[in-house]
Amino acid sequence: MAAGDDTGLDVKEIEIVLRLFMAEAEEGFGVMEGGLLRMEQQPDDREAVAQVFRAAHSLKGNAAAFGLTALGALAHAVEDVLDDLREGRIAVTPDRITLLLASVDVLRELLAAGTQGPQRLIGPHLELQQRLLSARARQ
């Protein structure tokens, strides 16, 4: 895995930041799963939604810095659903929680694959992105 060409960091520095990113991303997945389970039990838990949103937002930004475009694209789709939930444009439902939890599993897979993984969303990952998009269309 390598950082984007524009960070201004050398190889050793990239390694340091990359290790931090991997640890932070893993922590973020835990935050997302914990928050989603809280939302499932308490759909009006605003802080839980905000916490999950922030974790997806950070993941999206950091994935882009490391050139992990597929990971960044899926994190972006997850973030958009969470933004709609956060702003009350759509409701917290069991279907949406299930979809978001499934998305966290795929985000984890894409992170583990690193640059060996797809550079754009294809096949089932693309389908998942479409499902996330559809989840925003219904109240």
């Binding site: 524009d6 960091l9 932070e24 922030r54 937002h57």
Partner: protein
């Protein structure tokens, strides 16, 4: 001559480290804050020459922190650069209205970041 001091505000340790390395290599002194509340406290305590402010953070977001820093006479003149993701570009206008001097987008581009910092506070 003492080094210019920059306050890095971001809830992501990865981003803070990336900015710290880029600015440290350019001989700036760096202090950090992990959310908006810490940013306001650090701005008062450290009196940095410049603040790089993330937008989405726990406890108090970048807008709230910018407003609080602008309202305090002891920190109001510290230049603030908002650091946003590309998808937040629409919110840049609000950042400027609140008194941010400039903005930059993530992923962090080292040369661009340094150019903006140097334009505001010099070497």
């Amino acid at each position: 001559m003492s080094r210019k001091k920059i306050l890095l505000v971001d809830d992501s340790e990865t981003v803070r480290m990336m900015e710290r390395i880029i600015l440290g290599k350019a001989a700036y002194e760096v202090v950090v804050a992990a959310d908006g509340i810490e940013a306001v406290e650090q701005a008062k305590a450290e009196k940095p020459d410049l603040i790089l402010m993330d937008l989405v953070m726990p406890r108090l977001d970048g807008f709230g922190a910018t407003k609080a820093i602008r309202e305090d006479p002891t920190t109001r003149d510290i230049p603030i650069v908002m650091v946003t993701t590309k998808s937040e570009a629409a919110r840049v206008e609000e950042a400027m209205r609140l008194g941010c001097r400039d903005y930059t987008t993530k992923p962090i581009h080292g040369p661009d970041l340094l150019a903006k910092v140097r334009a505001l506070i010099g070497e």
